[in-house]
């Protein structure tokens, strides 16, 4: 290699800019290419950096060397003024063909360098990727964690409140429901699970689609008026009078059943309550009465609530006979106990976290309010066609037991 050849290789007359990425590596780039990036351009003009290796311009953290290379390729092509729109478009189409992860990194880096045309291009590409896919597909493409519980997916979206108590409650309930779910998994009810899964997505779609055949009305987001109405409502019907007697915590806990009823009766078309299908039996929405909670929660109440939840958990974990004992002993107290319908070929169902009654072959837990509550909850359950069989059976047994007494 003669030196003459070497000399020819390096073009004279070009000025270079030195750029340093967050990991410390330094690159040199032709000046006009680097100036295409507004952020770099500004740095050069304002601070005069970049003219030599020691004074390299440090780029934002989101720009790593590989991505920087891509960005510079983009700049190198587009900073040439003579290109036609068609050429630029063709280049862009080819340029963004890369895997999704890299596309996201590129978007992020372009944004930090304020290279708007590239941000637009990559955003469009990402939108094209998302469009038309199902949630599962999107999660897979972008490696999103599926960290919403089934219940959360079903819950109507609400305006975020910043109240830490609400967040704490939400977490508590989410945790309890997760445990419930795990228990169910253990009991080999895969068919039910699948159905629940379908429903969760469908339900959200019904929300978007404006209600499927099962939706009983449309519920808007929390507003106090609605809560008041719900509280008042119990006075009207006998089946609801039970709830009127319960204290607030139970209201919250049992609100799922409660709501199913009220929504049906109230049927407020004007209030535009959009409701996820209450026919989902596994985990109907746990109504977060923001209004309620805002009004009534105080530390003492919260502790009651905590205790309630812990109790519940304990019961879930213990065996049936022990549970029976407990229930019998709790007797007059209006306690909620887990339901699972057993025997007679009917399937296990946790109809709700709160309002659950166990019926064995010949055992029936009876105390007045308890029974009434369960029958109303059965009515509610009975509305769900899929549960009708089991529900009818259960009601029959109830009736029989009354007769027996």
């Amino acid at each position: 290699m003669s030196e003459g050849v070497m000399a020819v290789v390096k073009p004279e007359m070009k000025s270079y800019i030195w750029l340093q990425t967050a990991d410390g590596s330094i690159q040199q780039v032709e000046e006009e290419v680097a100036m295409f990036c507004p952020m770099i351009c500004r740095e050069i003009l304002q601070t005069g950096m970049g003219s030599s290796k020691n004074y390299a311009i440090s780029l934002p953290q989101r720009v790593n060397p590989a991505i920087l290379g891509l960005i510079l390729d983009y700049c190198r092509f587009h900073q040439v003024p003579g290109r036609s729109n068609k050429e630029r478009k063709t280049f862009d189409e080819k340029f963004i063909r890369m895997d999704t992860k890299r596309l996201c990194e590129l978007t992020s880096a372009a944004d930090s360098l304020q290279l708007k045309p590239l941000v637009d291009l990559t955003s469009r590409a990402l939108a094209r990727i998302i469009e038309g896919k199902t949630p599962e597909e999107i999660r897979e493409t972008f490696h999103l964690p599926d960290d919403l519980t089934e219940e959360e997916k079903l819950e109507p979206l609400r305006n975020i409140t910043d109240d830490p108590r609400i967040r704490l409650l939400n977490r508590l309930y989410a945790r309890k429901r997760k445990e419930l779910k795990e228990r169910e998994k253990l009991k080999n009810v895969e068919v039910e699970e699948e159905r629940v899964d379908e429903r969760s997505v469908e339900d959200l779609l019904t929300f978007i689609n404006g209600g499927g055949e099962d939706s009983k009305g449309v519920r808007a987001n929390k507003n106090k008026k609605k809560n008041r109405r719900r509280k008042d409502h119990p006075k009207d019907s006998s089946s609801n009078s039970v709830y009127g007697n319960h204290n607030k915590e139970l209201d919250v806990l049992s609100s799922s059943c409660h709501d199913g009823e009220v929504n049906n009766m109230a049927s407020p078309s004007k209030n535009s309550k959009l409701q996820d299908s209450t026919s989902v039996t596994f985990s109907p929405k746990l109504e977060f009465d923001d209004g309620d909670i805002d009004d009534d929660i105080d530390p003492a109440m919260k502790e009651e609530l905590d205790r309630e939840v812990e109790d519940f958990a304990r019961r879930l974990n213990s065996d049936w006979p022990e549970r029976m004992q407990e229930i019998l002993s709790l007797g007059q107290e209006r306690r909620l106990v887990p339901i699972s319908m057993n025997g007679n070929g009917s399937t296990h169902r946790y109809t709700s976290m709160s309002c659950i009654v166990w019926i064995g072959d010949n055992n029936l837990m009876v105390n007045d309010s308890f029974v009434r509550m369960s029958s109303s909850s059965f009515e509610w359950i009975a509305r769900d066609a899929s549960m009708r069989f089991a529900a009818e059976e259960a009601v029959e047994e109830l009736a029989m037991s009354f007769g027996a007494r």
């Binding site: 992020s108 944004d111 999660r139 919403l148 979206l157 978007i208 689609n209 404006g210 987001n221």
Partner: protein, 419 residues
């Protein structure tokens, strides 16, 4: 599944990028992202651009059902939305006199709406609620089949830059005062108004697009106008009105637009301009006018030809000219008034590069016009002629004449399009 570093890489992008991605999705897909993961739950709710149409809801042959579900969807989306809404677009024909639209407009007026587009299809005219006039920050408004009734206390949209009213019922005085009370108005489009007499007074107006049956248009104060596009339809009584009018329409319309760069006139536009035309020299030159498109020019009418000539001869920097003749060829073809063409002063079109003549029926004036252009355009590159009608004889005659014409430009191509 996957290594811990293989984490979710899109949720932590800055909100502005997420918004820009979600804005590019149909609103239905954008809302569905709320069940992707906990971080995505509310990302859609701060979108500032909401575009709704019937694709938001599942298709169905039952119109009532579609309407109901669309109303639900939009109401829910608006209710769950957080933050300002800058753009709201509703384009659907399914909402028949729907009272919910009023409520949505009310909601938007409280949320700093900047761009509002309501295209409500073929149903009854939607009467716009008065809360629309409280949208102080409106910069763009597009209404389709609506009824506007500005309240007396309305002082105008002070930020409005773009106004597009298509088939909108509004009192004529209200239109004029609406236009003049929007000081920043840059783009105005009015379509399908009936028999409107319009005085446009808009000092910042740049783009004007008019279509419909206008009795009279006067551009009173539009010094910054850059592009005009007018399509004037004619019904009988307007024709009478034309005959009776004494003012010079050319001056009224094009007298005060020195910055004009592009002019496009359709249907009866040249006829309109020819009314009241007198043969004085025009004092105005359109220095920036580069493209002129005049369609349906009646070449049998000398006055219209004069309008065209006057226009193109006042535009020294004209580069493109599109002319189409009116395709109703008269039975009698009058002999060309050769004197006229001789009389025209020695004028050359210094910059004219492209001429497209369409709907040419071979009428003598048309041929003279083409001859005139060819002999006065030293920079001409393309002259394209498309004859109308399938009379082969006539076309042949045209071609024979064309070949004889002298050309001032050596590189001019004459393209005769067969069909």
């Amino acid at each position: 599944m996957g290594d811990p570093l293989d984490m979710d890489f899109v949720s932590d992008l800055p909100q502005s990028i997420i918004e820009s991605i979600l804005t590019r999705l149909p609103i239905r897909d954008a809302v569905r992202t709320s069940i992707l993961s906990s971080k995505w739950r509310y990302k859609w709710s701060t979108l500032t651009q909401l575009v709704f149409d019937e694709k938001c809801v599942p298709l169905s042959t039952d119109r009532g059902l579609v309407e109901k579900s669309l109303v639900h969807f939009i109401t829910r989306a608006l209710f769950l939305h957080q933050g300002p809404i800058h753009k709201f677009q509703l384009s659907t024909s399914y909402l028949q006199s729907c009272p919910d639209i009023d409520q949505w407009v009310l909601f938007l007026s409280r949320n700093d709406i900047k761009e509002l587009v309501l295209q409500l299809g073929e149903c009854e005219w939607f009467r716009v609620p008065s809360c629309l006039f409280n949208c102080k920050k409106l910069t763009r408004m597009e209404l389709f089949r609506c009824e506007l009734d500005p309240p007396p206390s309305f002082t105008g949209f002070l930020c409005l830059k773009s106004l597009n009213l298509h088939q909108v019922i509004v009192a004529p005085e209200a239109i004029e005062s609406l236009i003049s009370s929007c000081p920043l108005l840059e783009s105005l489009a009015l379509s399908y108004f009936d028999s409107l007499v319009l005085n446009i007074c808009a000092p910042n107006l740049k783009y004007l697009c008019l279509e419909g049956e206008f009795k009279d248009i006067c551009l009173e104060n539009t010094p910054l106008l850059v592009a005009i596009s007018v399509a004037m339809y004619m019904i009988d009584d307007i024709a009478e009105h034309f005959e009776q009018s004494s003012s010079c329409n050319f001056i009224k319309f094009l007298g005060g637009v020195p910055c004009l760069e592009r002019l496009s006139g359709h249907i009866y536009f040249t006829k309109y301009l020819s009314i009241g035309h007198d043969l004085e020299r025009l004092t105005i030159t359109y220095r920036h006018l580069k493209v002129i498109e005049l369609y349906q020019v009646g070449f049998e009418d000398m006055k219209e030809i004069l309008v065209v000539l006057r226009l193109i001869m006042s535009s020294p920097n004209l580069e493109e000219l599109h002319i189409s003749g009116s395709s109703n060829t008269l039975g009698e073809i009058e002999a060309a008034d050769v004197d006229l063409w001789e009389k025209l002063s020695k004028y050359t079109f210094q910059r004219l590069k492209l001429v497209k003549m369409t709907e040419m029926s071979g009428v003598p004036h048309e041929m003279e016009f083409i001859k005139f252009l060819l002999s006065r355009s030293p920079e001409l590159e393309i002259m394209s002629i498309m004859p109308c009608g399938c009379d082969i004889d006539r076309r042949l005659n045209m071609l024979i004449e064309l070949v004889r014409f002298k050309r001032a430009s050596a590189q001019a191509e004459i393209i005769f399009i067969k069909d």
